[in-house]
C-alpha cells in the first residue's frame, strides 16, 4: 500500500516540477511566429513548385506577409485564391500575372525529318549532346520528355515525339523551361490565344527541308496584323505585349502555310490527329 502512495507522490511531484519548467520555457524562449504567414501558408496550394521565384510555399508566404511580393505572384493559385489571400492580409492582390508555358515547336515525327538511328539514352539533354539528337532540326523539341518529367503538375504530354502543354493544367511555374536543353519552351501571358510553334532561326529553305511544320518567314501574319506579329529573319513571333491578340478564328483566317502559327486548341488537335491518315 505504501508503495502505491510513494509512487503516486513521486509522479505527482515530477509532473509538477516538469510542468512548471515547461511553463517557464514557453514563456522565455518563445519563437515569435507571424500568424499572418501561417494564414497565407494555409491558403497557398502547397505545391512547392518555385514558380514564384521563392524557395517554396513557406518562403513565398513570408515574402507576401512582409509585403515584399504581391499574392498574385503565385502561379498555381486561381484568381479566387489570390483574392482570398489579399483579403486576409488586406493588401492589393496585384495585376494579372498568370503565365503559361508553350513548346514553340511543331516538329512531331510526321513533320520533321527523323534520322535513321538513335539508340541512346531517352533523355533530351543526353541526346542533345550527340549531334543534336534524333531529329533533323537542331533548334526544335527533341521529344524525349525531360520537360514532362520536370513538370510537377503533369501538364506536359509527349505526343508523336513532340512535347505539348495542356493549358488547363499548366500553371506557368517555369520548371520545364529550365529542364529543356534547347530552350524551346517559353513562358507567355496566360490569356494569349495563339503562338508561333517554331524556334528555328535558320533560312526558310533549310528549315523546310528539315521540317514541314516550321515557320518559313513568309510574313503573312505580319501583313494581316502588323502590331501583333513581328517577323525577324525567317521566324515570326507573337508580340505578347500587344493590346489585343487575334482570336482562334482570326488565326484560322490568316491561313499560315505551314501551320506554325496556330491557336492552342488548333495546335493540340492537329498533334493528336497527326499521322492518322498516313499510317493506313
Amino acid at each position: 500500500m505504501s508503495g502505491l502512495i510513494v509512487s503516486a507522490l513521486v509522479m505527482g511531484v515530477l509532473a509538477l516540477v516538469l510542468g512548471t519548467a515547461i511553463g517557464i520555457f514557453v514563456k522565455f524562449f518563445k519563437v515569435k511566429s507571424d500568424p499572418r504567414v501561417e494564414l497565407v501558408l494555409e491558403l497557398l496550394p502547397g505545391a512547392n513548385c518555385g514558380g514564384c521565384g521563392c524557395a517554396g510555399c513557406a518562403d513565398f508566404a513570408k515574402a507576401v506577409a512582409s509585403g515584399k511580393l504581391q499574392p498574385n505572384r503565385c502561379p498555381v493559385s486561381s484568381r479566387e485564391q489570390v483574392n482570398a489571400i489579399a483579403f486576409a492580409l488586406g493588401v492589393d492582390p496585384g495585376e494579372g500575372f498568370a503565365r503559361r508555358a508553350v513548346v514553340c515547336c511543331s516538329g512531331d515525327k510526321y513533320q520533321t525529318q527523323m534520322r535513321k538511328f538513335y539508340n541512346g539514352a531517352i533523355d533530351c539533354a543526353a541526346a542533345n549532346m550527340i549531334g543534336g539528337g534524333p531529329k533533323g532540326c537542331r533548334y526544335g523539341c527533341i521529344g524525349m520528355g525531360n520537360c514532362a518529367h520536370a513538370c510537377p503538375f503533369g501538364a506536359i504530354e509527349v505526343i508523336n515525339s513532340l512535347a505539348v502543354v495542356h493549358q488547363e493544367l499548366c500553371v506557368g511555374c517555369g520548371k520545364c523551361v529550365t529542364a529543356c536543353p534547347r530552350g524551346v519552351i517559353k513562358l507567355v501571358p496566360a490569356n494569349s490565344s495563339a503562338h508561333v510553334y517554331c524556334n528555328s532561326p535558320e533560312k526558310g529553305a533549310t528549315k523546310r527541308s528539315l521540317c514541314h511544320g516550321g515557320c518559313i518567314g513568309c510574313g503573312k501574319c505580319e501583313r494581316a496584323y502588323p502590331d501583333q506579329f513581328t517577323k525577324t529573319g525567317f521566324l515570326a513571333s507573337v508580340n505578347y505585349e500587344a493590346e489585343k491578340l487575334p482570336g482562334a478564328e482570326e488565326i484560322e483566317a490568316i491561313k499560315c502555310p505551314t501551320g506554325a502559327l496556330a491557336s492552342e486548341a488548333g495546335h493540340y488537335e492537329s498533334e493528336k490527329n497527326a499521322g492518322k491518315g498516313e499510317n493506313k
Binding site: 534520322r115 539508340n119 541512346g120 539514352a121 543526353a126 549532346m129 543534336g132 537542331r138
Partner: protein
C-alpha cells in the same frame, strides 16, 4: 631476344572487342588520294580555341599556305591542303553533328606549293625551343583523336619533371589500321619523330607501345629502333590499351592520379601519327595537311587505307573505295568504340580523323535498352575501376552529386562498359551527361568565386 619469351604488358580492366574488322584493311598498303576539285577545311581542327582566319574569300592560296593563325596557347595553325582560290567561309556539317565553319577551297588543279618552312635536318644540334616553335608553326595536333595541340602537350608545366616519352602505337580500336600501316610503311619517320620529341623534352627514355596483333610492325620498328635508342614494347591485345593512362600503367607501371595529367607521373604520351608529322615538320619543313585514314566497313567495295588531305569530304573518301555495295545505315568518324556517328556524308576529314567507318543496317545493332541487372560486367571492364552501373543509376535518378563523389569525372568514355552491358544500357552517354553537368556547375562556381 627471343620473342616468345618476352613479357607482354597490359593494364587492369578493359575488354576484348571483336577484332575481325582489322583484317579488312590491315594488309592494304596506303594509297595516296587523287587531287580533288574542292576541299572544305574546318577552321577549328584543334581542341581549345579556334584559330583566327587570315584569308578572305577570293584570295588565291598555295599548298601549305597559312589559312588560320593560332589565336592563343591552346590553338593550332591551319594550312591549305592545295593551291587554288578561297571560294568562301561557309558552314558545313561538322564532325560533332552541329554545323561548323569551314574554308571552302576550289583547287586550281596545279597543286603549287608555297615555300614550306626551312628544313632542320641537323635537329640533334638544334635548340629544343626552335623545334618546339616548328611544331607549333606546322599546326600539329594530337592525331590519335583528341586533336589537342601538340605544342601544349610538349610544354611541360613549371614544377613538373618528365623522364619518359611513350609513343602510342597500340591502335586498340577495332577496324582501324591507319597507325599500323604507318608504322609498317614508314618506320623511320615514326622513330625519328619520337627522337625529335625526346630531344625537345630532353628525355632519352623513349618507348613505343604496340599491341602484339601488329607483330609485323613491331618487327619492322625493331629493325631500326636501336639506332634511335628507342625501346619497342609489345602490349596485350586489349581495349583501351591505347588510352594515355592505361598505356602509362602498362609500360612504366605508374598510375596517373584522378584528374591529373601524364606529366604528374613524369610521362608524355604521343600518337605515332603525331610523331611522323613531327618528323615531317622538322626534317622536311612540311606543315600538317594530310593524314592516313582507314576507310573501312563491310558495305564498302574496296576498303583500304588512304592518305587524305584535310578538308576532303567523307563522301569522296567513300568514292575512292569504289562506293558501297549495300545501303549503309551508320557512318562513324574515328573508331567504332569512341568515334562519333555522323548525319551527313559531307563532313570533312580533319587532322584527328583516324577512320571513316560504314556499317550496314544489319551490322549496326539496333537495340532497346533495359534495366540494369547488376551483373557487374561493366565494373570488370572499366579500365578506370569505376562502378559504372551504379554511377549511371545515380545519374538517372538525378543524383549527379553522388556520381561526382564516386569519380565520374575519371571516365574516359572508352565505351567498354556499354559494349559489355547485356541490357544494352547507354552507360557512356549517361556518364557523359553527368560530366557535362558537373563541368557546367564547376564553371559556374568558379565564375561566382571570381566575382567575389
Amino acid at each position: 631476344m627471343n620473342k616468345s619469351s618476352r613479357k607482354v604488358m597490359s593494364f587492369t580492366g578493359g575488354i576484348h572487342p571483336v577484332s575481325a574488322g582489322k583484317k579488312l584493311t590491315n594488309t592494304h598498303a596506303v594509297h595516296t588520294a587523287p587531287l580533288l576539285e574542292r576541299y572544305t577545311v574546318l577552321v577549328q581542327e584543334n581542341a581549345g580555341k579556334a584559330p583566327e582566319v587570315i584569308i578572305k574569300p577570293g584570295d588565291k592560296v598555295l599548298k601549305y599556305q597559312l589559312l588560320a593563325k593560332a589565336s592563343g596557347f591552346v590553338s593550332a595553325n591551319l594550312h591549305s591542303p592545295t593551291s587554288g582560290e578561297v571560294a568562301g567561309i561557309i558552314e558545313v556539317p561538322g564532325p560533332m553533328g552541329v554545323p561548323a565553319l569551314a574554308i571552302d577551297i576550289r583547287s586550281d588543279g596545279e597543286d603549287r606549293e608555297t615555300d614550306p618552312f626551312e628544313p632542320i635536318p641537323d635537329w640533334r644540334s638544334a635548340e629544343p625551343q626552335l623545334l618546339l616553335d616548328r611544331v607549333a608553326d606546322a599546326g600539329l595536333v594530337g592525331m590519335g583523336g583528341a586533336s589537342f595541340p601538340t605544342r601544349v602537350k610538349l610544354t611541360i608545366p613549371p614544377g613538373k619533371k618528365v623522364d619518359t616519352l611513350i609513343l602510342n602505337g597500340a591502335e586498340c580500336e577495332p577496324y582501324l589500321s591507319a597507325d599500323h600501316r604507318l608504322m609498317l610503311e614508314s618506320p623511320c619517320r615514326v622513330l625519328e619523330g619520337a627522337a625529335i620529341i625526346g630531344h625537345i623534352l630532353g628525355i632519352d627514355k623513349i618507348y613505343i607501345g604496340i599491341e602484339i596483333n601488329k607483330h609485323d610492325a613491331i618487327a619492322e620498328l625493331e629493325r631500326f629502333s636501336e639506332d634511335y635508342g628507342i625501346k619497342i614494347i609489345p602490349l596485350q591485345v586489349q581495349y583501351p590499351q591505347g588510352s594515355e593512362k592505361q598505356l602509362i600503367h602498362a609500360i612504366v607501371n605508374r598510375v596517373v592520379p584522378p584528374g591529373g595529367l601524364p606529366a604528374d607521373v613524369g610521362c608524355v604520351v604521343q600518337n605515332v601519327g603525331t610523331a611522323a608529322a613531327v618528323s615531317d615538320a622538322v626534317t622536311l619543313g612540311i606543315p600538317l595537311v594530310e593524314r592516313i585514314v582507314t576507310v573501312s566497313g563491310k558495305v564498302l567495295k574496296d576498303p583500304g587505307n588512304w592518305k587524305l588531305r584535310i578538308g576532303t569530304p567523307v563522301i569522296k573518301a567513300i568514292e575512292f573505295c569504289g562506293g558501297v555495295t549495300d545501303e549503309p545505315s551508320k557512318l562513324i568518324l574515328g573508331g567504332p568504340m569512341m568515334g562519333f556517328a555522323q548525319n551527313s556524308y559531307e563532313v570533312p576529314i580533319s587532322k584527328n580523323t583516324s577512320g571513316v567507318l560504314l556499317f550496314s543496317r544489319r551490322r549496326a545493332l539496333n537495340y532497346r535498352s533495359g534495366s540494369c541487372i547488376r551483373c557487374g560486367r561493366c565494373v570488370q571492364g572499366c579500365p578506370m575501376g569505376l562502378c559504372t552501373c551504379l554511377l549511371a543509376t545515380a545519374i538517372e535518378g538525378g543524383r549527379i552529386d553522388l556520381a561526382e563523389q564516386n569519380h565520374v569525372m575519371d571516365c574516359l568514355e572508352c565505351g567498354s562498359c556499354a559494349y559489355v552491358c547485356p541490357a544494352h544500357r547507354p552507360l557512356v552517354q549517361t556518364l557523359r551527361l553527368a560530366k557535362a553537368e558537373i563541368r557546367r556547375q564547376r564553371a559556374a562556381a568558379a565564375k561566382a568565386n571570381s566575382g567575389k
